[in-house]
């Protein structure tokens, strides 16, 4: 008995920093920290390079001039005015297409469906569509709209590019609408229906305004994703070296920042490469601002709950 007690004293229950298990534990924590730094490093490196190489070229010329076709002028590559305009137009077209479809579909899933096979199939389809590579959306729009010239005999056009982007935006908008509507308290629905409002009035006047922030967050994130996409545009919207100055231009090829970066990055001329960096700076700034606004909106909803 005495012997046993003595043995117990040998166990030191206080934390021993130098014991093997604690050292191994610390080493793993440090390793995980290093992994975290490695993962964050590219973000900083890319952002720093884009800022350093791009911001030095910010001038009024950049925003007001057209890009010079490669090889014309070896020193001055012009500006990216029409590419900014084109990105805004194509993104706007895709937003206009995907919002009614995505929000409408989301309303069906959250408000009308009874979680039956059809609704489950649509949710599954939305997830699958979200995983479709963006280049496939480009191939699809090329095959169905560009090569068939279905849009008033126009082939490459801003509309075709917008449709291709809307295919990528659709699943995000649909899913965030579905989830945003589910967050709205059921009491509101019952209250509204109980005082005799129709389903339509309940949804448009009570439910949708209450789910505004999550839906808006989802739409902003979808826009931010679409505005940076290149693959669906390279053979649908193509590229153009001219301004869009009238409404018919949406049936013609249109410039965009992302396609400009792609085309000019692969040119052997330094002036064009520099312009690609400038365009990257503008595009990244635009997308980061959109993302941060979306996140702030999302946080705002988080505190509301």
């Amino acid at each position: 008995m005495k012997e046993k007690n003595h043995n117990l004293y040998k166990f030191n229950l206080s934390y021993n920093l130098l014991s093997r298990r604690n050292i191994v534990d610390k080493l793993f924590s440090i390793l995980a920290g290093i992994f975290c730094l490695i993962v964050i490093a590219p973000l900083f490196l890319v952002i720093i390079y884009v800022i350093v190489k791009g911001s030095s070229q910010i001038s009024s010329v950049l925003f007001t001039q057209l890009p010079e076709p490669p090889g014309d002028d070896l020193i001055n590559a012009g500006g990216i005015g029409n590419a900014i305009q084109g990105t805004l137009i194509v993104t706007a077209i895709s937003t206009v297409i995907s919002i009614p479809i995505g929000v409408g579909g989301g309303i069906y899933l959250a408000e009308y469906s009874t979680n039956g096979p059809f609704a489950r199939f649509i949710r599954f389809g939305a997830n699958v569509l979200a995983g479709v590579p963006s280049i496939i959306a480009g191939v699809f729009v090329y095959g169905s709209i560009v090569s068939t010239k279905i849009l008033f005999n126009n082939s490459y056009s801003a509309i075709a590019g917008g449709i291709a982007l809307s295919i990528l935006m659709l699943p995000t908008v649909l899913k965030t609408t579905d989830e945003g509507l589910k967050l709205v308290s059921d009491n509101l629905r019952k209250g509204s229906l109980a005082i005799g409002a129709s389903k339509f009035t309940t949804i448009t006047k009570i439910i949708l305004p209450n789910a505004f922030t999550p839906i808006a967050t989802g739409i902003l994130l979808a826009i931010a994703r679409a505005a940076g996409e290149t693959a669906p545009l390279i053979f649908t919207a193509l590229f153009s070296f001219y301004w869009v100055d009238n409404i018919n231009s949406i049936f013609e090829p249109i410039a965009s920042l992302s396609v400009l970066i792609y085309n000019f990055a692969l040119e052997p001329y330094e002036a064009q490469n520099e312009l690609a960096w400038a365009a990257s700076f503008v595009l990244v700034l635009f997308l980061l601002i959109l993302n941060i606004i979306a996140r702030l909106l999302g946080r705002y909803t988080g505190t509301m709950k």
Binding site: F28, N127, G138
Partner: protein, 317 residues
Amino acid sequence: MKSSELAVLFKHRRRKNREKLLDRGFKTFSVAMASSVAIILFAILILIFTGSLESINKYGAEFLVTSEWNPVTDKYGAWAAIYGTIVTSILSLIIAIPLGVGTAIFLTENIIPSSITNFAGMMIELLAAIPSVVLGLWAIFVMEPFIRPFLLYLYHNFGWLPIFSSEPIGPGMAPAILILSIMILPIITSIARDSLNQVPQNLRQAAYGIGATRWTTIFNVILPAAISGITGGVLLALGRAMGETMAVTMIIGNSLSFNLSILAPGNTIAAMLANQFGEADGSQVSSLMYAALILMILTLTINMFAQWLVKKLSLKY
């Protein structure tokens, strides 16, 4: 109140036909919009399948294993691109899994204060917001020149291995693999974070309670509990890596011939589509559609499997 008076009151509350019509119309509208998701998905599959029929009939399964791609002689085989797609996506996953899961553990397991982890988590999500074309530009002008000495070292010292058997000359599969792993890290990290956060706190407390250290707990209790979500995230990342186009196109070299070495220029299906689709005609379009069909089947299978896995295994807790 008499029942006749009540009847009058209710008569006033009877809905107008216009209102009923609007109600029914809105429901029909929402059903139509929801169905359009399925319609688009099927339309994509049908269009790509019919577009590739000509090439499927002509080459059949031979298309998958031959690597000659020659518009002049009208002979097409996609093995080089299929090999590139599989090798780049798998190798980028091998790089990204430990980094991404390690980061997710670091950010969820209370190792550092939560204000720092929130900031780091936001940084990683912003990394996902950088467009792939900008990453491609960065890869061409910054990353590739920077890593070339390391690739040369690999070639000079390990050149006897078939996968390092050619001299790096600039664009190639190795830089494409690196840029792909940067692009899929945010997906793996954020999904792994979500799954780790969903592991019940009780499991952690029980493990600590019986005297396990932090990392014993992580390896033996938390990771096994979160493995389904993490695997789902990894599969989603694999699907994304296979379909990723722009950054890969810009840095992989777009070689049409097959080369086993990852230091040599290569090709992926997505890169081939981006490069050739705009200028293709005749049976080349059909062959590209065939390649697109293969890519579509690959990514769809992986995505469906990932969804199934997440749904099946996440019911455990």
